[in-house]
Amino acid sequence: MVDAYLRQSPLAHLHLAARATTSNALPDAGVVLAEIPYLSQFVLRGNADNQAFTAGIKKALKLPLPISPCTSSVDKTGHSHILWMGPDEWLIVGPSDDQAHINSSISTAFRNQHFSLVNVSESRTLIRLSGTQAQNLLEKGCSIDLHPSAFSPGSVVNTHLSHAHITLHRLNSIQQPTYDLYVHRSFAEYLWSWLEDAAREYGLDNRSK
């Protein structure tokens, strides 16, 4: 096992955890942000019309493969997700120590199936956004319709937030709208700066750990 201290998240340079607001310090902040680094992330490619494939994934991950565009599935713990990325593409997300499990359970699930599984855990970091002004904040840089009637809990889109490509996932397990923003690591610092700037008028509560 590699020494954990050697690891640097894409936003490590900003020392977010050290700058995090202490609990309830900002009761009025309209925006709550936190970096959640090092999640296990895999791009899965395969044929959604192939029953054996979809059933195999469900068996391997204990999660159904979302087939409807812009939807996701989540497990009971709320920590593992499969996000629909395209007609033949999904992003599997799990806790940081889940990489080996995801990799082995899928790799061994099929024989003679054409699919691909690529570990992209290092490609993106996750910024979790919540707070009363979360939707307004996103609307400053995202032209997707985020109204609950159009972007309900569990929805996923690949879009732009200002100039950065993000995968935007609205969690469905939490009452108050909470969004997961997956951002490529090279854009992470730009995106965090943009979010901080956009949140100024609402008040920002940084809960990075």
């Binding site: 054409h114 992209v120 400053k140 319709d145 109204h147 690591r185 090279s186 700037d197």
Partner: protein, 1001 residues
């Protein structure tokens, strides 16, 4: 100065809250709720500026967006705003405004001498005069702009902040007057997402200027109740001080919201916000703008729109004059007479162009004891610096001349009304057509390309009851079409209105002499375009309104001709003998409806947020090492790392020597990486790349060249076989995204039968490239599970294992010609490994090097860079790379090799150039010629693609693309540069270790 013209009572202003401001340096006071214009009127200011061309004194003529005269320069320094309409500037404490377009002051303006020479400045004057000689314009323009220009732009950076908002809705209602509010209520009650916007600080539109009742309560109470109801609807957004400035295809509208006034520090709030609205349906309740009558000297300070006079009295509690004459062709202006009377302002007379004004409003005016002069016109306005009197005569039977005896009426205010123009700008922005209603002289919206409709006054329905009715219907219908059909039992708001009698259209009113002979009939007050100018244009052959507009500049000022365009068009039609003014057409309205600050378009895309800086995992190490950066797309890559006092050349020399004699380290993380998997992956690579891939062994790497269909080089890189059906492709940094797109395009559109998946893994890996004689020794300290000996890991081999305890892939690939190891580790470990290599490498002389050194080292080896040696017209054969073109299989681009152009013998070929003087460095891009001499033209035979000084060679060298280059090796060629011509010898394009001993070492 006291508020001499402030009425004792009335108006939606707060007399307990005085607001101090300055105008042209004079201290004045208004009240909270005033606009700058109403405050200036209160303070008795008559002249607010000078006109654009003739520098005639001008006063406030309107009360809203249609104002053409009262433009001011607001504030000074960085926050200054040019050409602000005083009628739209809300008064705030400390406001400072100055007149524009006059010097030294609007009351005494030296440039007014222009009006003495008006006969010398006809329509098209500038075109006719200053276009000779043609080259002269650039000199004339400078002086003309200074004399004629409007406001001044700030020269300092804008200290204010702006942002954007992207929203979607079911129904967008533009305009918060009676129609718009009614529509928003009806739509909102269905549960639809509704956005209601109004440009002003208060909702109500024209209702604010009148005294109507709706549902048996005062209009203001009705507005209040409606807004209260809208605020309880969760999905209704109400935006005041927000202008819908543009309406585009796909029901996309741009709104500009002003959030704080200019001097208030908004803190963390932006001053203005630009809204991008995508709506399902759009209700355009944009109202109507009154147009003036066109009569002789209708620009005098004190000549105003009749509705504006009413607005100042009702809404702001100020009187624009003490003795008024109403000049009208319709009933509506009688309301102004009645309002003046009620405010105890004398009304000298109502001059009506109609023979028998006998509607209800005229009857009320007569009852109020106001004199009505019918079938008459104003033939002249006396008083250059402000109205003193008007001359009135009767119209003749044809209404093209006057008769009888002139009567002089003393007055200081002329309230003129020529009818109302529906505001169909937004409808027109998005491709909507308009038809001309000849009886009323207005354009009415016809076909629209959007899911939109104009309602109420914007559709020519001026009566209040109709507006409420239409609004209610349109709001409900729009919501229903957007899918919200919930029924409501609420009823249509009811209001009584007075039926008005038709107006009489006489576009340019006659005077005692023909038009242009006595006084000026102004059409466009801001650009000083007169009826005579338009008539002249017609005589000179201008038949299209679009051409006439550009020739006379009618409607091209900041107000875009809101008051003057339609009378101007009608005058043109008349001059051309066209019966229906609609037949000469109208100019197309273009966004923005009112000016939008450029800062609002920029939003937060300023400073560090202008464009993302993409950072590699080692970015901040490079930053601390004080490297100089090179921009590669959005990436920042270290260019070179200068030490204290080092020049760029010094630093690059040091880095180049270290990489060949000790060990150099490069951050290569930005190179594109694409994971390719599937049983057909090798076949796919065979088709994409020019060379063969079927026999590449697992754990081996191969260089590949990608062509476009035209046979020209598109990208290059090394691809490694990781497993049976698994490859890792690398691309150039700047083509990473386009190569992935290219692969997907072929897979999805041409070869869907191939079982291959491609995924980008560029960001997943940090790539650290070490090279040089000490590279192996350094790396061996970091790994015990990878055998680094040349036999175990030869050139073009790859091994997986650990480096510094981190899972890694080590590739023996080289872009420098040295024994080189490219170490790929998970991105989050990149910085740690880099730092450790730097520490451990110190004893080996480790030196970080940047892209410049990389370029020099690869050029010494003759390795090309796509985009530097190639430019989209270069084939592999041109680079002497025939060896990479498989003859046994097909690949993209191969067919194009048989094109005649591909087979030209004189195509440019890649060669080396050695300047005869080893200290001469050629300019990249320099043209190569075969003979020396300064006779022109010298045939150009090629160009320099790369040129450097090489510390390893101890001399300068270059790569070049030269026609027939291979056959010129050994010849002398010449590169003319600024000041001297450099003589070079043509060589093979390789300068260092041509046997490749180091590479394989």
């Amino acid at each position: 100065m006291a508020q001499t013209n402030r009425l004792a009572l009335g108006g939606d202003i707060d007399r307990t809250k005085p607001v101090n401001f300055t105008f042209n340096g004079h201290h004045m006071q208004g009240y909270a709720g005033d606009t700058l214009a109403s405050a200036l009127i209160a303070n008795g200011v008559r002249i607010v500026g000078r006109s654009f061309k003739y520098h005639r004194p001008r006063g406030i003529m309107a009360a809203g967006t249609e104002e053409a005269n009262a433009l001011v320069q607001l504030e000074t320094g960085a926050r200054t705003l040019a050409n602000q309409q005083a009628t739209r500037v809300e008064l705030y404490e400390g406001l400072s405004a100055t007149s524009i377009n006059c010097w030294p002051s609007p009351d005494f303006d030296l440039m007014s001498i222009n009006s003495w020479f008006h006969r010398l400045m006809p329509a098209g004057f500038y075109y006719k005069t200053f276009m000779w000689p043609v080259s002269g314009w650039k000199y004339y323009e400078h002086i003309i702009r200074r004399a004629a220009g409007l406001g001044k732009s700030p020269v300092e950076p804008d200290p204010d902040q702006y942002d954007h908002m992207h929203v979607h809705c079911d129904v967008l209602v533009v305009g918060g007057g009676a129609s718009g509010i009614s529509a928003a209520l009806a739509a909102g009650r269905t549960g639809a997402r509704v956005i209601l916007v109004d440009e002003s600080k208060d909702f109500g539109g024209q209702l604010l200027n009148e005294q109507y009742t709706i549902n048996n309560k005062s209009a203001s109470r009705w507005i209040e109740d409606a807004l209260a109801e809208l605020s309880t609807m969760e999905d209704v957004t109400v935006l005041k001080r927000t202008t819908a400035f543009g309406y585009y295809d796909h029901n996309y509208a741009g709104l500009l919201e002003t959030r704080t006034d200019i001097l208030t520090d908004g803190g963390d709030k932006t001053r203005q916000r630009l809204w991008h609205v995508r709506t399902k349906r759009c209700v355009l309740a944009t109202g109507a703008l009154e147009r003036p009558l066109i009569f002789s000297d209708n620009d005098r300070p004190g000549v105003m729109l009749a509705s504006a006079v009413r607005t100042y009295i009702q809404r702001y509690g100020v009187k624009p004059g003490n003795k008024a004459v109403i000049f009208t062709n319709n009933d509506d202006a009688y309301r102004t007479a009645l309002a003046l009377k009620e405010a105890a302002v004398k009304v000298a007379a109502i001059i009506d162009t109609r023979p028998v004004p006998d509607g209800e409003l005229p009857t009320q005016a007569i009852a109020a004891g106001i004199e009505i002069i019918d079938n008459a016109t104003i033939t002249g306005v006396n008083g250059g610096r402000g109205v003193k009197s008007v001359e009135v005569m009767s119209l003749n039977a044809a209404a093209d001349g006057v008769m009888g005896v002139a009567r002089t009426i003393l007055c200081d205010l002329v309230a003129s009304s020529g009818g109302w123009n529906p505001v169909i700008h937004l409808h027109s922005h998005s491709g909507g057509k308009a038809k001309f209603d000849q009886a009323r002289g207005i354009f009415i919206a016809s076909e629209t390309l959007q899911a939109s409709e104009c309602i109420g006054a914007a559709n020519g329905d001026f009566l209040l009851g109709d507006c409420l009715n239409e609004g209610f219907r349109a709001g409900k219908e729009a919501a229903s079409k957007a899918g919200f059909k919930k029924a409501s039992r609420r009823k249509i708001p009811i209001a009584e209105h007075i039926v008005e009698h038709p107006l009489r259209l006489i576009w340019a009113l006659p005077s005692t002499k023909s038009i242009g002979e006595r006084g000026k009939h102004f059409l466009d007050l801001q650009h000083d375009v007169t009826a005579a100018d338009v008539q002249l244009a017609a005589r000179e052959g201008y038949a299209s309104v679009e051409h006439t507009k550009r020739y006379t500049t009618l409607g091209m000022a900041t107000d875009q001709g809101k008051t003057g365009n339609i009378p101007g068009m009608a005058v043109l039609a008349q001059a051309l003998g066209v019966d229906n003014p609609g037949d000469v057409g109208t100019t197309t309205f273009r966004p923005p409806y009112t000016p939008v600050t450029l800062g609002a378009f920029a939003g937060r895309n300023v400073g560090v947020l202008t464009d993302p800086v993409r950072m590699t995992p080692m970015h901040h190490w490079h930053e601390l090492a004080a490297c100089k950066w090179e921009d590669v797309g959005q990436w920042k890559r270290p260019w070179y790392y200068p030490k204290q006092g080092e020049s760029m050349q010094d630093a690059v020399n040091r880095e180049c020597l270290a990489a060949r004699n000790a060990v150099g380290i490069l951050d290569a993380s930005t190179l594109g990486k694409i994971d390719i998997q599937g049983p057909d992956a090798a076949e796919f690579l065979n088709r994409i790349y020019t060379n063969a891939w079927s026999k590449l062994a697992i754990g081996k790497c191969r260089y590949g060249l990608m062509l476009k269909e035209d046979g020209m080089i598109f990208d290059d890189g090394v691809t490694t076989r990781l497993g049976e059906n698994h490859y890792l492709m690398t691309t150039t940094t700047s083509n990473a995204a386009s190569v992935l797109g290219w692969l997907e395009e072929w897979l999805q559109t041409e070869w869907p039968d191939l079982k291959v998946y491609c995924n980008s893994v560029t960001e997943a890996w940090a790539t650290l490239s070490i090279c040089g004689p000490n590279a192996r020794a350094l790396l061996s300290e970091f790994t015990d599970d990878i055998d680094l000996t040349p036999d175990a890991l030869p050139f073009m081999g790859m091994k997986e294992g650990t480096v510094g305890g981190i899972p890694a892939r080590v590739f023996r690939i080289s872009f420098t010609g040295e024994c080189s190891f490219e170490i790929n580790v998970p991105a989050s470990y990149g910085l740690a490994l880099w730092t450790q290599l730097m520490v451990a490498g110190e004893k080996y002389g480790i030196t970080p090097y940047g892209t410049e050194t990389m370029h020099v080292l690869r050029a010494e080896k003759g390795y090309i860079i796509v985009g530097q040696e190639t430019d989209g017209t270069v084939m592999p054969q041109d680079l002497g790379m025939d060896w990479i073109l498989s003859k046994k299989k097909d690949f993209i681009g191969r067919r194009s090799f048989t094109r005649p152009d591909s087979q030209r013998t004189e195509r440019k070929k890649l060669v080396g150039l050695l300047p005869v003087n080893p200290n001469d460095i050629l300019e990249e891009g320099g043209q190569v010629v075969a003979e020396k001499g300064d006779h022109r033209p010298i045939p150009m035979i090629g160009h320099v693609t790369s040129s450097y000084y090489s510390a390893n060679l101890g001399r300068s060298f270059a790569l070049a693309m030269i026609s027939n280059g291979t056959e010129r090796i050994g010849d002398r060629v010449y590169v003319p540069m600024d000041g001297k011509t450099i003589t070079c010898e043509v060589t093979a394009p390789i300068f260092f270790d041509s046997e490749g001993t180091r590479l394989h070492g």
